[in-house]
């Protein structure tokens, strides 16, 4: 039975040298210097776009949460329309407006049908939102209160407390140290003029990139981008993000919490988006804890011992060193054992490196599943926006399988030893005592 399966695999992989090439990413500047990245995706009469500003929580200053709050306020009134009219204008044409902030960016997005009259209404509303937000006092108070209640509710969750403490622990004084949503105290102190100032400084043409994926011609996309960027003030690009210093030494902190499980996070700052060590770290982590049901951490913690439902590790590359994080949740009485096992799995991996077989399996997974990464407009937009914001090469996706295939066992081993220093590991646990 197994032999037959191998035969099937072999036959198919020989027969199908994947002749698939996705549409290339087109990049240009509008007449006023707006950066545009476009992929034509015909087939469905729809378009997805995302305007990304260098205005993440790293720009919060002392107002922790201001990037996120500014971002949520945009749609609460703009130009001649109040919050209800804006909602009605999108809903009436079946358009979906979205917005979010993360550590490095704040973005606004639109999904619309491409039928001219529908798209026109969605786009004109979108343009007003980004260029003429009203920032009214009552809307500001309302959204602030909602955010505060949301934050309070998250205090019910041990996972949230763990995350908040973990970031503080690995980043210390760096602006990556606070959560994007901010804190109750800093939000309470924020005023509307703080918000207006943040918007004026960061929501500007020179601080933005536009990604578009959908059923448009290049000419249509050009026209759309031209109009959109024209609405924004020129402004200036945000200053470089400060460098991250690594924690001075390892530490372990436990927070008592009335829960049946203890949530554990462990890690340290580790990886930039444009990092020379990106691929060995990425492929190495795939083996360690990134490949879902077959990773080493999953195997040691869940499959062999039944200690947790989820056990994982990941790198989140950012402009400056983004976190390497390992995580699990287990009933309180097992937490010490689980933490030890997690540390040992990491230490062994760093010390010994992966086996050749493990590497080959990971490479097969990553290259064989390459096309799954952008099999929808939604996923493709994520990539295009990421490539645009971090200024990655336009052939980033094309070259991905080759870069993965070139990674060696020795490289993974030496890069992990250099970049994931276990003597600096920060471990946070949140849960009940026994």
């Amino acid at each position: 039975m197994r032999i037959k399966l191998l035969l099937v695999t072999l036959l198919f992989s020989l027969a199908s040298v994947p002749a698939f090439a996705f549409q290339p990413i087109k990049h240009w500047q509008t007449s006023q210097g707006g950066q545009v990245y476009f992929v034509a995706s015909p087939g469905l009469p729809m378009v997805d776009m995302r305007l990304v500003f260098d205005a993440g929580s790293v720009r919060d200053g002392k107002h922790h949460g201001i990037a996120s709050l500014t971002n949520s306020l945009l749609e609460t009134g703009a130009g001649q329309w109040n919050v209800d009219q804006i909602a009605q204008r999108f809903d009436a044409v079946g358009a979906e407006y979205s917005s979010a902030a993360d550590q490095d960016t704040s973005w606004v997005g639109l999904r619309s049908l491409t039928q001219a009259d529908l798209l026109e209404q969605a786009l004109s509303t979108f343009e007003k939102i980004i260029s003429q937000p009203r920032f009214e006092q009552d809307q500001f108070q309302r959204i602030k209160q909602q955010t505060l209640i949301g934050l309070k509710q998250q205090q019910e969750q041990p996972g949230f407390i763990a995350e908040k403490t973990f970031y503080k622990s690995i980043y210390g004084e760096h602006p990556y140290a606070h959560l994007v949503v901010g804190e109750i105290k800093t939000l309470q102190k924020m005023s509307l003029s703080d918000i207006q100032q943040f918007y004026q400084q960061y929501y500007v043409r020179n601080n933005a990139v536009l990604a578009i994926v959908g059923d448009l011609t290049e000419q249509q996309a050009q026209q759309m981008a031209e109009t959109l960027f024209k609405q924004l003030k020129q402004g200036a690009k945000a200053k470089p993000v400060p460098h991250v210093s690594l924690p001075a030494k390892a530490s372990q902190e436990h927070i008592n919490f009335p829960s049946t499980q203890t949530h554990v996070l462990a890690g340290l700052p580790a990886l930039r988006r444009k990092d020379v060590d990106y691929f060995p770290l990425y492929v190495g982590n795939h083996i360690l804890g990134g490949s879902g049901l077959v990773s080493l951490l999953f195997n040691e913690i869940r499959e062999k011992r039944g200690l947790a439902y989820s056990a994982y590790s990941y790198f989140m590359p950012l402009e400056e060193l983004g976190p390497f994080t390992m995580g699990l949740q287990t009933q309180n009485k097992q937490s010490a054992m689980a933490i030890e096992l997690m540390q040992k799995t990491l230490a062994d991996f760093i010390h010994l490196g992966p086996t050749q077989e493990q590497l080959i399996a990971a490479q097969k997974n990553l290259t064989g599943g390459f096309v799954l990464r952008f099999d929808s407009n939604k996923k493709l937009l994520d990539y295009v926006a990421m490539i645009a914001f971090y200024q990655l090469p336009l052939d980033y996706l094309d070259s991905f399988p080759d870069k993965v295939s070139q990674v060696t066992v020795d490289e993974i081993k030496s890069v992990f030893q250099r970049r994931v220093n276990t003597d600096l590991l920060q471990i946070i646990s949140v849960g009940g005592q026994e």
Partner: protein
Amino acid sequence: MIVRLFILLFYSFSIHAAEVQERVLTNGLKVLVKEEHRSPVVVSQIWYKVGSSYEPSGITGISHMLEHMMFKGTDNYPAGKFSEIIAENGGRENAFTGRDYTAYFQTLEKSRLAISFELEADRMRNLHLLAEELDKELQVVMEERRMRTEDNPRAKLQEYLMAMAYFSSPYKNPVIGWPSDIENYQLADLQQWYQQWYAPNNATLVVAGDVQAEEVFKLAEQYFGAIPSEKIKTLKPQPEIEQVGVRRMTVKLPAEVPYILMAYKVPSLKTVDQEWEAYALDVLAAVLDGGDSSRLPARLQRGQQIASSVGVGYDLGARLEELFMFEATPVKGKTLLDMEIALKSEIRELQRETMSAKELARVKAQVMADSVYEQDSLFYQGMKLGMAETVGLGWQKSEQYREKINQVTAEQVRLVADKYLLESQLSIAYLEPQSMRANTTAGVNHAH
């Protein structure tokens, strides 16, 4: 303008809709294929007609437990091998269990579909359940329950509400099962559950992606064709007994923020006498909570500013009688009672006044647009077909959805609100937060 808009939308849509193709193998396995050639990817899902609503008391959650054990090996492929092979082929896989179904899926580059078929066909009949694997996996499921429910006050409130709202319907039990049932599963229980429900004539194989339907049917015949069909026991009907008055409960748990759930007994598409009623209930849900311009966000979050968050849930695709559910968090300074009164006042208005043509047009425009957007996801397309087929509606129902919604009138929405959102059919649960602080302290110890 709105009217013209619909005609155009409808037209442009009919050009793009891919047809579903169906073949039933002689052993009863139904195979559905939706060709979608936008990228060289295929999704394969196998849906079994079994879920938590099939479970007798004492072994609640066993469908979900069995779903976990399905990754624990056959004689041909021992524990872990399934996932290893899928991973080596660049695939993504997982499984999920609901009230009315258990489903397994793989997403692969299109030429590798046969790998998924071979492995799924193997574990449809050859699962080798081992006591030692069950011991470990029981612990995993207990951890899953702690994570999802025990340490989540809102999830607990929902669990308590379900147990109160339903008396005789199996929907009263949580999908993951009650804790002591989970702790006491025996290998024989799982063996029997597997024998009873995992057979080709109790399953639907859904394939969506860059494939040719005829080739998929051939492959399905090759791998699944030889599996004999089984006699599948007829499920007892277990209808919900009539509710004859409002049910209320207050749940006190360590939490920070109060929360309310209100649930009205309503029919699903499967249980309803007149189909249009279920579609009208679906439109009703969208009028209340479909987009930022819908009534609850517009009036309770923005207008009156009573709710910090608010939402509505209705699953028209349920196999048994369903709940039309409201959930809300009051803003600071408002009580759960204020929230309840505000929600009921919205309901009363829907019962008394027909909504404007504009409001109805908005809902329909969104449904139209969604029917285009959802084609961007292969997985979701497969999911819709699998669900409709597995609850016994037939996959064709999911293809008719857009058209049926388009036929709903404003008066029909008023009628269903008036007929079903009745005080006597209501179950209400309040979450009253108890202090968490007393127990929360921090202690630091530095290693090295």
